[in-house]
Subunit: 354 residues, 2 copies
């Protein structure tokens, strides 16, 4: 290694040994200077830091990890079934989380877990030790992953909750029950009595809680509960369309729809148009709006009346929770319940008598 290659040539990164020999210092001192240990002279520290920048030195992540025993990385595991590959909600959540990670010097490892292989994937993540903790997406009812992760002693935060599991674990969730209770109540107060629910798959925890909010509101208003008004499934445009189309061809049409996602609502809107009806006048729609940057239900008067809660923010908070667990393992496991905001848009109105 000659002067030539020690200069600021892109791509020719140094390692610690080279940097310290350049500086005429030991690796120990250089390492400590860079990591802000107190036992280094301030002048030396500055000299070292300047050199590090000049030579574009950054510690090898693998070596640091080996030496410290911490990967400085978080895993996100995305459940994947055949119909739903990569829900935009996960993407937005991850975008939020990644802000926290980069701020705190962590990397983000993404793993797709096809259903059926989940167990072995979590085990593998734990034993390969390439992450310090993980975020679990889309919990199911009685989710076996929680027990597994507790056994594996891998720190984790769940985006959502498994209300069937009474053990202690860290989670962040929105108050789905309250959100859908309020949304349903709004529709009832507007005079609607036939309110359809177009929900996500009710094997998932969030969808169950939304349904129970919906049912509670109906019950409280002494309205009949009609199983035929309740749909569940992947929240795609197509499914929203076919569910709504089916409902609108019935002799007794529902006059209101409660839709669990923006994308599903786009299909419902199409069905309403196709039936020659006007949304907000003939038919009311309330959606849950995850406030995805890519599907913005905005404007002075938003298109859809919604219960809104930012998944991106949830991602940021979840990441902070997880890092705090990792850096402070003895503290109590944090939980966080976010409230959704009811926002009146153009898609709701008093019930229309025909």
């Amino acid at each position: 290694m000659h002067l030539q290659s020690a200069l600021n040539i892109p791509g020719s990164d140094m390692d610690l040994k080279q940097l310290s020999s350049q500086l005429g210092l030991s690796q120990t001192t250089v390492s400590r200077a860079l990591n802000d240990y107190p036992e280094v002279n301030e002048n030396t520290r500055q000299r070292v830091k300047r050199a590090a920048v000049k030579f574009n030195y950054r510690p090898n992540a693998r070596a640091t990890g080996l030496a410290t025993g911490r990967a400085k990385a978080i895993g996100h595991v995305i459940p994947m079934n055949s119909t739903e590959v990569f829900n935009p909600i996960f993407a937005e959540f991850i975008a939020g989380a990644s802000q926290t990670y980069s701020k705190r010097g962590y990397e983000l490892l993404l793993t797709m877990a096809p259903s059926g292989t989940e167990d072995s994937i979590y085990r593998q993540i734990a034993s390969r030790k390439s992450v310090d903790g993980i975020i679990v997406h889309a919990p199911r009812i009685n989710d076996s992953r929680i027990t597994l992760l507790q056994e594996l002693a891998l720190p984790f935060v769940i985006h959502g909750r498994d209300t069937a599991n009474k053990s202690e674990y860290a989670w962040i969730d929105i108050n789905n029950r309250s959100a859908f209770f309020q949304a349903t109540k709004l529709l009832i107060d507007l005079g609607h009595t036939d309110i359809a629910l177009i929900n996500g798959s009710e094997a998932l925890s969030f969808a169950c809680r939304r349904r129970s909010g919906y049912l509670d509101a109906l019950q409280q208003a002494d309205l009949a509960i009609d199983g035929d008004l309740m749909f569940e499934g992947d929240l795609t445009e197509g499914n929203g369309y076919s569910a709504a189309t089916e409902l609108l061809t019935r002799p007794r049409q529902p006059t209101a729809f409660l839709v669990s996602s923006y994308t599903g609502a786009l299909g419902v809107r199409r069905a309403i148009h196709n039936a020659g009806l006007k949304m907000g006048a003939d038919v009311s729609v309330v959606i849950h709006d995850d406030d995805l940057s890519y599907f913005h239900n905005s404007g002075d008067v938003p298109q859809f009346t919604s219960t809104r809660s930012s998944v991106k923010q949830a991602g940021t908070l979840a990441a902070e929770m997880l890092l705090s667990i990792i850096e402070n393992p003895t503290a109590q496991l944090p939980t966080r319940l976010l409230e959704a905001n009811l926002i009146i848009g153009a898609s709701t109105g008093r019930r229309h008598h025909r």
Copy 2:
């Protein structure tokens, strides 16, 4: 370490030293047995592999990485500007790529790069050495990242192309020019002469190429080119809606729309409905369809006529290309051009004279 903890207790993973002492073998032999080196007796190999499964042994990824000098991980860098956080297209592409990675024993590291910080992020990735190569998303015209990555000597594959850059680099792209040429020609053949283009941001390479396909077809048919018929911007539902609404309030309405994405087209559809027109009869629409699993433009007769090409498949192929570059660094850099399929749906028809 006693018998107790050497048994199959979840979370109590062994390391190589423990495993080999359990087996009464040296670490060398155990390592070689597991990695299928030839100089190990077949019986021994079987014995080792069985024990590894039994004790849930998996090599520490960091240690392996340090020793081999290869991270066995690929980085995906997602450009992020304030309006667009995490395009579902990236998500779907990543879902495709991750299949390849897990099959080949690689991990996937995700990094968000806020615009402005990109340079330093790529440098950091290169010098931290936590990945063996990266995938670059959303290339721009004259994209500085290409030169940078070439200097950093970090293997990469670009999803898209920078046609302004004549140097050699690996890319995978769809034939955007041909796709939009064909789509435009279809509309012209149906009698349309006022064809609007609602495009993605033309700072991005793909959008430019689509526009030039559109222009070529117009030119070839001796149709006038009207700059007022061309829109560009983030391909959101909202932007599609406002662009189409604006166009439909003009004295001379376009009778056909070419829309660069499914989500944008949902907004265009809304605008058409709102104007009291019928898609496929009064107004024709052709879209580019990335075949996202979450936004499926399917059915016996798809809703939208489209040029379709699966981004998920592109992701799978891109990953394979990148791994082949990494494992065979001296070979010529691969490139791959995918053709889109023109699929006739319900949104196009002969021009309607009013």
